[in-house]
């Protein structure tokens, strides 16, 4: 048995290994580029239209920045987790209302509850693109110095909060 004949088989086994690995990954989840980097610059109105918000609001307190929209069905599913943290003194909840109208967003918050201390109004994805967001809901944990520490893609389940997010928030106090 000549060694050369083994090359196709060997190559194929490598391929199967890679494919098997690929099955364990979700090709749509992108890791964040911004971990350990400062929150990107932005200057957007809040939902009420009463003031311009910029990254300074993230200084001095641990923030949970949550991307949502009234059109986002999954956001409704995770909303109770956020509502439960509304009065948590260790953390401030900052919402980014993405690709929405003020009316629709307000109605949604009335219907589902408003856990956010601040809601940034981003109808044209300006901050979204800076953050590298690809869908809603996505959530960022930002430390007291305004640095992004963690990105969570998708719904926050109670397990996510208990196992990952809450310990992280507590460690950043």
């Amino acid at each position: 048995m000549k060694l050369r004949g083994l090359i196709p088989l060997f190559g194929f086994l490598v391929l199967v290994g890679a494919l098997a690995f690929g099955l364990t990954r979700d090709p749509r989840i992108l890791p964040s580029e911004l971990i350990e980097k400062p929150f990107p610059e932005f200057a957007l109105e809040n939902l009420e239209g009463s003031q311009i918000i910029d990254p300074n609001v993230l200084q001095g307190k641990v923030s949970l920045v949550n991307v949502f929209g009234s059109w986002c069905v999954a956001c409704t599913t995770e909303h109770p987790q956020l509502m439960a943290q509304r009065d948590n003194p260790d953390i401030q909840l900052v919402g980014i209302d993405w690709r929405d109208t003020r009316d629709a967003a307000n109605r949604w918050l009335v219907r589902n509850g408003n856990p956010y201390d601040i809601v940034i109004f981003d109808p044209n994805s300006k901050l979204i693109v800076e953050l590298g967001v690809t869908g809603a809901p996505e959530t960022f944990i930002v430390d007291r110095d305004g640095k992004i520490r963690y990105k969570h893609v998708g719904i926050i389940t109670p397990k996510d909060w208990k196992d990952t997010l809450r310990p992280l928030v507590e460690s950043l106090q």
Partner: protein
């Protein structure tokens, strides 16, 4: 009841396939005629059972029986007949049933058409075909049962996705599968021959027509898909280098190399090693394609719904089938050495070069398609490989191939010299140079000129090869076997295809603007004017429609109707482009958002000669079928062999 009968037929087919996989193999080993003949009958029986099952599923769809989950998900009582039928294979379970139907069909062709095959080889091939078929039947029965019932029964089905109700899309899968699955025969025969330890010209002569059939169907299937994408998706592209497109293209590349190798093996008794490896590789690529489309491993427009369980099963199937075949190859490859030496400058040499370049091209597409997975496994980075990569790496390799294609057929077998062909080669070069200069001056593009020169080189070289073969006489023309015309047509098809792709890429123009009614955009001498905008509601969608009239130098050419549709139930936005197809060019317009005061976003295109892309591909496929008529490609019948 029909559904249950269909399900039972599948279970029976699985049992038959399992027996068919074992008994003929043992029979060939023991030289037992009875056991080997069992394979013949089992192959036909398996096909009939699966055909019955497929008909059962079709009747479920046609009768709108929504107690069957598949029909409830993918059909609708108001669907036109054609789409009810095509809906059968417009989903994962139905399409994989179509797959096994075709596998069994090709398998049944072996006893029917292969009466003159050596019985040992025939039995082994039938067994291997059944082995793979049994694997897929198990896959269906355990993970993708099309006959699953639904309780409670819904009022109507869910399957009214408008994008899928299209004739091009309806026919694309069957043709594609006839090609993909067709390569299972060379695979089975390759493994059978490796088991026997003998790959010879009898083997090759029997397989040749089947390789031609599979290759031709695959060519049509890919061309149909591309044409559908062009006129349906409405943004002017005909090939996206999408992972699923790539996995259908890779078997085509390997299949082309296989086709050439098997033609050589049948007549020249060389290239056995190449042929066997290519036969295994082509079908392995078909299996990989099936895996990729149905496992969710790569992000693609085409992928069916993701299910990790199915992915694992398919990977196992792929691994065992291909791994087994390649292990056999490793064990037996050294017996397949070429007995006949040949020069580089000979037709044999040219065909080896053809194989090498096609393999390099195949490897490139493969690398680009699977690299994201490899790199993710190695260091976790997420890299994406899009069209720009393939254009920069694949295209040059194909250009090199076309360069050799132009003159390769002129060489004699076994040994020849460039010196002997100096005259025709120089002539072809001069023609190409003329074309390059003319196009560079008139078309103002160096790249376009070079590409068209390449196409001219291939076309003229092919004409010269035919001319020399026929001695430039009418008698010579008439005495040519069908395979000569197959060769001529196929290579011309490639030349036409190359020219058309160049024309569209280099000289295609587009523009986008915000137009109010009465405003215009112009592309060269063509003016596109937004005549009228309307809107409304129709069936299950709201639409915004624009009528855009096109004039050339003031003369009316056509009016393009384009629509932007919004389907509220599916929350889906689609663009129906307005197309005017002709042999000379395609005029295209699509309308976007806007309002009467501010204007509407309109995008217009002009693509010269674009339909020739698919006509060239069609010519290639037709040539493949024409070559089938060549009597020399057929095995002698038992009667003739006995004489």
């Amino acid at each position: 009841m029909t559904a249950e009968l269909g399900h039972m037929a599948l279970i029976l087919a699985f049992c038959v396939a399992a027996l068919q996989a074992v008994i003929p193999l043992v029979g060939a080993h023991r030289n037992s005629a009875r056991m080997m003949e069992f394979g013949d009958r089992a192959a036909v029986g398996q096909f009939l059972l699966i055909a019955f099952s497929f008909l059962a599923l079709t009747s479920v769809f046609l009768s709108s029986d929504f107690s069957v989950k598949l029909a409830a998900l993918h059909s609708h009582s108001e669907k036109p007949l054609l789409y009810k039928i095509s809906g059968v294979w417009g989903n994962h379970e139905g399409s994989i049933l179509l797959w096994v139907l075709m596998m069994a069909g090709y398998g049944a062709a072996v006893p029917i058409f292969g009466k003159s095959l050596p019985p040992g080889l025939k039995a082994r091939a039938i067994a291997i075909q059944a082995l793979v078929g049994a694997g897929f039947l198990a896959f269906i029965l355990f993970t993708s049962n099309p006959f699953e019932r639904l309780d409670p029964v819904p009022m109507d089905g869910n399957g009214l996705n408008p994008i899928l109700q299209d004739p091009g899309l309806a026919f694309h899968p069957p043709f594609l599968y006839l090609g993909y699955v067709g390569f299972s025969l060379p695979f089975s025969f390759a493994v059978a021959a490796l088991i026997e330890g003998r790959v010879d010209s009898v083997w090759a002569k029997w397989l040749r027509p089947w390789v031609l059939v599979a290759w031709s169907f695959l060519t049509i299937g890919i061309a149909l898909g591309s044409f559908w994408a062009y006129y349906e998706l409405g943004w002017g592209g005909w090939w996206m280098w999408d992972p699923v497109e790539n996995v259908s293209f890779m078997p085509w590349l390997a299949g082309t190399a296989l086709l050439h190798s098997i033609l050589v093996l049948g007549t020249r008794h060389s290239l056995a090693g190449w042929t066997v490896l290519l036969a295994i590789t082509t079908f392995a690529l078909s299996l990989i394609g099936t895996f990729v489309v149905r496992s969710g491993i790569l992000v693609s427009v085409h992928a069916f719904a993701v299910d990790p369980e199915r992915g694992v099963f398919l990977l196992l199937l792929l691994g065992i089938a291909t791994g087994g075949a390649l292990t056999l190859y490793a064990l037996r490859a050294h017996t397949l050495r070429d007995p006949v030496p040949f020069n580089a400058t000979s037709r044999d040499g040219a065909l080896v070069l053809n194989n090498l370049l096609l393999t390099a091209a195949l490897a490139t597409v493969f690398l680009g398609t699977f690299y994201p997975i490899f790199i993710d496994a190695l260091d976790g980075s997420k890299i994406s490989v899009g069209a720009p990569y393939f254009e920069l790496t694949f295209t040059p390799i194909m250009c090199l191939l076309i360069l050799f294609m132009g003159i390769g057929p002129m060489f004699k077998w076994r040994a020849d010299t460039i010196k002997r062909l100096r005259v025709p080669i120089m002539l072809t070069l001069k023609v190409a140079a003329l074309v390059i200069i003319a196009v560079a001056l008139l078309g103002k593009s160096i790249l376009g000129a070079l590409a068209l020169g390449l196409a001219a080189w291939l076309a003229f070289g092919t004409v010269l090869a035919i001319g020399r073969k026929t001695n430039w006489s009418r008698a010579g023309l008439r005495s040519q076997p069908a395979s000569t015309w197959g060769f001529a047509g196929a290579h011309m098809g490639v030349a036409i295809f190359t020219a058309a792709v160049t024309a569209m890429s280099v000289w295609g123009t587009t523009d986008i603007g915000t137009l109010k009614v009465g405003d215009s955009l112009s592309l060269g001498r063509y003016t596109y004017t937004l005549d009228d905008v309307g809107g409304g509601q129709r069936d299950n969608y709201n639409f915004l429609a624009g009528d855009i009239s096109v004039t050339k130098n003031g003369r009316d050419v056509t009016t393009l109707s384009t629509e932007r549709r919004f389907y509220p139930v599916r929350n889906q936005l689609t663009t129906e482009a307005g197309l005017h197809l002709s042999f000379g060019q395609t005029l295209f317009a699509s309308i976007g958002e806007g309002d009467p005061e501010g204007g509407f976003v309109v995008q217009v295109y002009r693509h010269p000669f674009v339909v020739w892309i698919w006509l060239g591909a069609l010519l290639m496929a037709l040539s493949g079928f024409v070559a089938l008529a060549d009597r020399r490609l057929r095995l002698p019948s038992r009667r003739e062999a006995a004489e």
